[in-house]
């Protein structure tokens, strides 16, 4: 094999670098050209600031997209420290078949080889519909309230019992988290066709469609094993804060129950998605601290 001259190497390498950058930047332009696919307003509840330690070695600023799934199996955890991902009721066998998974076989038979065959399938790339501050979050809030009321009543019926008192305290804290801290961004549907999903969820200020991943899982409902799915990841899990938008939120701290006070650490952000369903931050601003009421002046 003959060696290229140094000049040819330089030209070929430079062309490769320029071409690769050109293709990537053309993709960015293609995503953001024209009307955004969706524009939603999020807050510090849905976009998590990085920890101080993370910022020491990395001067960039990216906000982690904090999303949830209404997962019946994780109900207690969900109202205290909700995690990303979960097994929602809507992701049943028919839905999984629509996403390309093989659901043939008897799902109800616990000893069936069909179950093993089903769960051995690998995760698939899908499109996930995320609802912002909608009915699913309000249902979660209502459940957290009922949870708090129930434990409060149990504690009242068992005065002096530490366990009941603790449960009531945890339920109260969970309710405060759900009211003020937890994300209101829920994965509520998944599909493979963006146009079909958008037709089903036409409100572009409430429903985001993002690329994500679903893996097969079996769950037990009413003592019967069923084929289901686990919404595990979003392809873009963090959104970069452009340099021009940084001054407003640069010094904000992530909010925590029991640590954060008032409007401290609060912000609102406008997030758009484009033709390639890739998100970007359009605007971001801290929520102004509430002005304390002035004492009435006696005349």
């Amino acid at each position: 094999m003959k060696s290229w001259s140094r000049k040819t190497t330089l030209l070929a390498g430079a062309a490769l670098i320029v071409l690769a950058n050109g293709i990537a930047l053309f993709g960015v332009w293609g995503n953001r050209a024209g009307e955004p696919e969706a524009v939603v307003t999020l807050s510090e509840r849905e976009l998590t600031l990085p920890y101080r330690g993370q910022r020491r070695e990395n001067s960039g600023l990216a906000l982690a997209l904090n999303w949830r799934v209404a997962d019946r199996e994780m109900v207690d955890l969900m109202y205290s420290y909700p995690s990303r991902g979960g097994t929602p009721d809507w992701l049943d066998a028919d839905h999984m078949a629509q996403l390309g998974f093989n659901v043939s076989g008897d799902e109800g038979d616990a000893s069936s080889a069909a179950q093993r065959r089903y769960t051995r399938q690998l995760s698939r790339d899908v499109l996930v519909v995320l609802e912002v501050d909608g009915p699913v979050w309000r249902a979660a809030l209502e459940t957290a309230r009922e949870h708090a009321v129930r434990h409060e009543a149990a504690a009242a019926a068992n005065p002096g019992d530490k366990e009941f008192a603790n449960r009531a305290k945890n339920a109260r804290e969970s309710l405060v988290r759900e009211e003020e801290f937890n994300s209101r961004l829920f994965a509520i549907d998944a599909g493979l066709d963006a146009a079909a999903l958008r037709a089903r969820y036409p409100d572009r200020q409430r429903y985001l469609i993002l690329k994500g991943t679903v893996r097969p899982r079996t769950i037990v409902r009413d003592k019967k094993t069923r084929f289901s799915g686990y919404v595990s990841d979003l392809a873009v899990g963090a959104i970069n804060v452009p340099h021009a938008l940084r001054p407003g939120i640069e010094n904000l701290q992530a909010r925590y129950l029991g640590v954060s006070r008032g409007q401290e650490g609060r912000f609102t952000a406008t997030v758009a998605t484009g033709q390639r369903l890739e998100p970007w931050l359009m605007a971001i601003a801290p929520v102004a601290a509430a002005v304390p009421p002035r004492p009435a002046v006696k005349r």
């Binding site: 094999m1 060696s3 290229w4 140094r6 190497t9 330089l10 070929a12 390498g13 430079a14 490769l16 670098i17 320029v18 071409l19 690769a20 950058n21 990537a24 930047l25 993709g27 960015v28 995503n31 070695e57 990395n58 001067s59 960039g60 600023l61 990216a62 390309g100 065959r117 051995r120 690998l122 995760s123 698939r124 790339d125 690329k211 991943t213 893996r215 990841d233 392809a235 873009v236 963090a238 959104i239 970069n240 452009p242 340099h243 021009a244 940084r246 390639r276 369903l277 890739e278 998100p279 970007w280």
Partner: protein, 357 residues
């Protein structure tokens, strides 16, 4: 015109010739008169001087040892410099706007490539070229990775194509095995991910099916058969070793984790199948390597044959045997392997016309 490796080979031959001639003279088997001896010595000295002006050759064993040290230092320096570039960008990129960030990323990739080509023209040793080439490769990896972060681009395996292409370009132009390894790694990752992606499977779950890597093994083992690498020492061997690793590692994993296979069979059957395949293919690698005179293929084959054998021993006997007996069996097996390999070596010698001792 000879290549660097041919020049080094000639210098090694001269050194060996001189040592053997000294022995023959001491044993009075061959005694050259002073005139002939001086003429041969002068010829060799002129030849070595001529080669030394054109190539960075080691003229004696001390120079050879120092070269090894330089190779190690160059490799470690390249890794450290690459890490430094990576963290340097992370430390400061947030202070610039997006246009400046993109400009810095592209300029660093282009600049480091230009620097590599410039150094190559002035560096006869190749150590500094290796350093610069790895930094250029890392700058390009950083370039596309950071574009993804800045503009929230969906991660894609397609980035592996330009990364691999640049690594191969630098490897073949500057004769660098380290960059060839980087290019091969990109090819392995791309082929494995593509095997999944055609079925709509997520790219992050590629390694959950180790069989995805087997296609890359075929490609890497076939490539040196079709491309002449005589002017690039070690390249064909590197293709063969990485190809064999892509063949044997999935077999080793699937030999103990049948659930990870694409095959819709009973896990035990799959595991037994891959264990058998492991023995058969490693034995084949030893046989083909010995026949074709590919020492790296023989060594990789032997290494994996032993690993397959000892993992099997562990499965069979670790729980039921006393430990002294288990290790005795392992030790006796090692002796048996030595005997078999010794016999193979004698057979190879007799085939090449030598008399067995």
């Amino acid at each position: 015109m000879p290549t660097q490796s041919e020049a080094q080979g000639r210098a090694d031959d001269i050194r060996a010739f001189r040592a053997e001639l000294d022995r023959l003279q001491a044993e009075e088997v061959l005694v050259l008169d002073a005139g002939r001896r001086d003429a041969v010595f002068a010829h060799h000295e002129a030849l070595l001087a001529s080669l030394a002006t054109r190539f960075d050759i080691d003229r004696d064993s001390r120079a050879k040892q120092l070269s090894l040290g330089m190779r190690v230092a160059s490799f470690l320096g390249a890794l450290a410099l690459s890490a430094s570039v990576f963290f340097l960008f992370y430390q400061f990129w947030g202070r610039f706007n997006e246009l400046a960030q993109v400009a810095i990323l592209i300029a660093s990739a282009l600049g480091s490539l230009g620097l590599t080509v410039w150094i190559q023209g002035r560096d006869a040793t190749g150590y500094f070229t290796k350093l610069a080439a790895l930094v250029a490769f890392i700058c390009f990896v950083l370039n596309l990775t950071m574009l993804g972060q800045i503009f929230n681009i969906t991660p894609s395996d397609k980035a592996l194509l330009p990364w691999g292409a640049l690594a191969f370009l630098l490897a073949y132009t500057c004769n660098l095995r380290l960059l060839l390894l980087a290019g091969i790694a990109c090819v392995i990752a791309f082929v494995a991910i593509r095997m999944n992606a055609w079925n709509g499977i997520s790219l992050w779950h590629t390694l959950e099916r180790p069989e995805n890597v087997l296609a890359a093994a075929l490609l890497l083992l076939a490539l040196p058969l079709g491309v002449d690498h005589r002017s690039r020492p070690g390249f064909a061997a590197l293709y063969r070793v990485t190809g064999l690793l892509c063949l044997f590692v999935p077999m080793l994993v699937l030999g103990h984790w049948g659930e990870g296979s694409y095959l819709d069979w009973d896990a035990k059957t799959i595991e037994q199948g891959y264990q058998t395949a492991g023995f058969v293919f490693s034995a084949l690698a030893i046989a083909i390597g010995a026949r074709r005179d590919w020492p790296e293929t023989v060594n990789t084959g032997i290494g994996f044959f032993v690993i397959f054998l000892f993992t099997k021993f562990y499965d069979w006997w670790w729980e039921i045997m006393p430990k002294y007996l288990f290790f005795l069996v392992v030790g006796l097996t090692a002796v048996l392997i030595l005997v078999v390999l010794g016999r193979l070596r004698r057979m190879a010698r007799s085939r090449s016309g030598e008399e067995a001792p």
